[in-house]
């Protein structure tokens, strides 16, 4: 057997033979996830193509995260249509309104996703599953082909290896590194690769933080991202799954198309400025800019750890009267844990509003939108013009710590100025 990357090993296991980079294969995913803004279209397309039975309905999961609280009669009707489709096609897992939460987070916390799994999903940010060493590939309309026939063509991607060492310093979060990384990497190099994270720093990087790490590379064209599964993952999953946990890894001399190493000690707070997520500057370049709107949440930064980091700064403080701050726990379980740990009390005392678990405002600004000329600092995934409402509004992306302190001061603020006084 030739030397293989983790991605090649996962895909080889799916097709029953060793695969080479660049090869076209039809691997069958272990799980297929479709979110609430596409489930109805998927059902209609299946009917249009005359599909009556899915290939493996038990492997299909519908999640309700983009619009858990229907904001119109049309939305409510669509939710009803999704329930019909789930019944007609015997969808194995339908997490309806108020069940589960964000489809890129709760399937991991609920133990549906384990190291070495291959997942295909209708949505860009399924690489989040790389947090536990699973390989998630996004699909668009072709997800119905996977639902109907069990697979779709993919090209075996190359892998970029990012090795991490050192520890982040106070006030700096993994989101800062994740943003710095996609600013550093050449988009042409990253195109269609899997970005793999490993190295001695990983023993200090929680699964919650790995969601953030694996979430961002897709913004510059990566096919997916994956953190080499290790004891951190084994321990995280030990209380969530019953089966034995295997920890597949890349061979040491596997053919990586590019490799880079970062010392996390050197990372400072970074902010992505409009209009693209990889236009990233050190916070000093934008500090002082007034903000109207702030948001902590999304698949990139909606974990319990993210909420804890925001609460660390908001505890005992109130946000600036000119700012509205939205807090979106990623999942129902995160919401419960945040209540139990007193975080929701901190947020509401600070003047923040707490939304239903899921994507929150990041799903196109359907809730908590931006008005004309307004400025937001938030932990969402993208900052394209109009992403959260008015086309001429501006979105700055930053860590939960930077968002929290900026909501307090009403201006983009370096959390390190606050970090000394927090615990």
């Amino acid at each position: 057997m030739s030397l293989q990357t983790l991605t090649q090993k996962i895909l080889s296991a799916k097709v029953g033979r060793d695969v080479r980079e660049g090869e076209i294969i039809f691997p069958e995913p272990d799980l297929i996830v479709v979110h609430d803004w596409y489930s109805a279209n998927a059902g209609r397309t299946l009917r249009q193509f005359g599909v009556e039975r899915l290939y493996a309905p038990d492997k299909v999961m519908f999640v309700t995260d983009h619009e858990p609280i229907a904001v119109s009669a049309e939305s409510a009707a669509k939710q009803a249509e999704i329930r019909d489709i789930a019944r007609q096609f015997a969808i194995g897992h339908h997490f309806d309104v108020g069940r589960g939460g964000h489809g890129h987070l709760f399937p991991v916390e609920a133990g549906f996703v384990t190291p070495g799994m291959f997942v295909e999903a209708y949505d860009t940010h399924v690489p989040n599953y790389g947090a536990v060493g699973a390989l998630g590939f996004p699909m668009l309309n072709e997800i119905v082909e996977v639902m109907a026939l069990g697979s779709v063509w993919i090209r075996v991607p190359a892998t970029i290896r990012i090795r991490l060492r050192g520890r982040l310093t106070p006030g700096v979060l993994i989101r800062d590194f994740a943003q710095k990384l996609i600013a550093d990497l050449d988009a042409d190099l990253v195109n269609y690769t899997v970005v793999e994270f490993s190295g001695p720093a990983m023993e200090h990087i929680s699964v919650d933080e790995r969601f953030t790490l694996c979430n961002t590379p897709i913004e510059i064209g990566a096919k997916s991202a994956i953190a080499e599964p290790d004891d951190v993952v084994r321990e995280y999953l030990s209380e969530r799954v019953q089966c034995d946990i295997d920890l597949p890894r890349s061979d040491a001399d596997a053919p990586f198309v590019h490799a880079a190493e970062y010392d996390l000690t050197t990372i400072e707070p970074y902010v992505a400025v409009p209009p693209i997520p990889d236009r990233v500057v050190p916070i000093s370049a934008v500090a002082g800019r007034p903000v109207d709107h702030a948001f902590v949440g999304s698949c990139a930064s909606g974990s319990l750890n993210d909420l804890r980091e925001a609460a660390r700064y908001l505890k005992g403080r109130r946000i600036d009267p000119r700012v509205r701050l939205f807090i979106t726990p990623g999942t129902q379980a995160i919401l419960r844990a945040a209540i139990a740990q007193g975080l929701m009390d901190i947020f509401s005392c600070a003047g923040a509003i707490i939304t239903a678990p899921g994507c929150g405002p990041c799903a196109g600004g359907r809730i908590g939108a931006l008005g004309r000329g307004e400025v937001s600092i938030n932990t969402g995934t993208r900052n394209d013009p109009g992403r959260l409402g008015a086309r001429d509004s501006e979105i700055y992306l930053a860590s939960p710590a930077t968002v929290a302190v900026s909501a307090i001061t009403g201006r983009i603020t370096d959390p390190r100025e606050f970090a000394r006084g927090t615990s």
């Binding site: 660049g22 090869e23 076209i24 193509f49 005359g50 599909v51 668009l140 309309n141 072709e142 119905v144 082909e145 109907a148 026939l149 063509w153 090209r155 988009a187 042409d188 195109n191 269609y192 064209g221 096919k223 394209d384």
Partner: protein
């Protein structure tokens, strides 16, 4: 294999564009994306008009769009490629983001996706021939030829079949008869 090699050869005038041609705006007006218009016969009249308003009238079936790095970059919407298909065009580019390459295949448009330096070898209006199966580009005007890595045969077959919908129907039919 029932198709003949000639099915993968196109010859016509080439239309050369630079780097970073944007999917929305450059290749297709954004309102067609919002309207989810997917008919090639409608979209063809708006193909590439963000860069050249006369393009739909000047380009002829068989012509070749040749572009630089990150062709169809930005949010990948398939309308841009249905427009190219409507005009009967094929594509050779220095690079293309993965999601746009997938759209190109789904729309049934022949492409050479990795032609490093190709824009320096051609001028708009020259007589160019591309064999998409072998990756050979011949510039008849200049009497020069270049070799590039072709798309995988399995993907060429999807394009030749007419794109994703036809390919999906074929697979469904094959399952039913199995």
């Amino acid at each position: 294999m029932t198709d003949s090699s000639a099915d993968f050869i196109r010859r016509g005038r080439c239309w050369v564009f630079g780097d970073n041609v944007c999917n929305d705006g450059d290749m297709i007006p954004f309102h067609f994306v919002l309207a989810r218009e997917q008919r090639p016969e409608v979209l063809k009249d708006h193909c590439m008009i963000g860069l050249d308003p006369e393009f739909p009238r000047k380009a002829a079936p068989g012509d070749l769009v040749i572009a630089g790095r990150r062709f169809a970059q930005g949010n990948a919407h398939i309308q841009a490629f249905f427009a190219l298909r409507g005009l009967g065009l094929s594509v050779a580019v220095e690079s293309i983001p993965r999601s746009s390459l997938r759209n190109c295949i789904s729309a049934g448009v022949l492409i050479l996706p990795e032609c490093a330096g190709v824009t320096a070898t051609v001028h708009t209006g020259e007589d160019v021939e591309i064999d998409f199966r072998t990756g050979r580009l011949t510039n008849h005007t200049r009497g020069a030829a270049h070799a590039y890595r072709p798309l995988d045969e399995a993907l060429l077959q999807i394009i030749q079949r007419g794109g994703w919908e036809a390919h999906f129907r074929d697979r469904l039919a094959a399952r039913r008869s199995a």
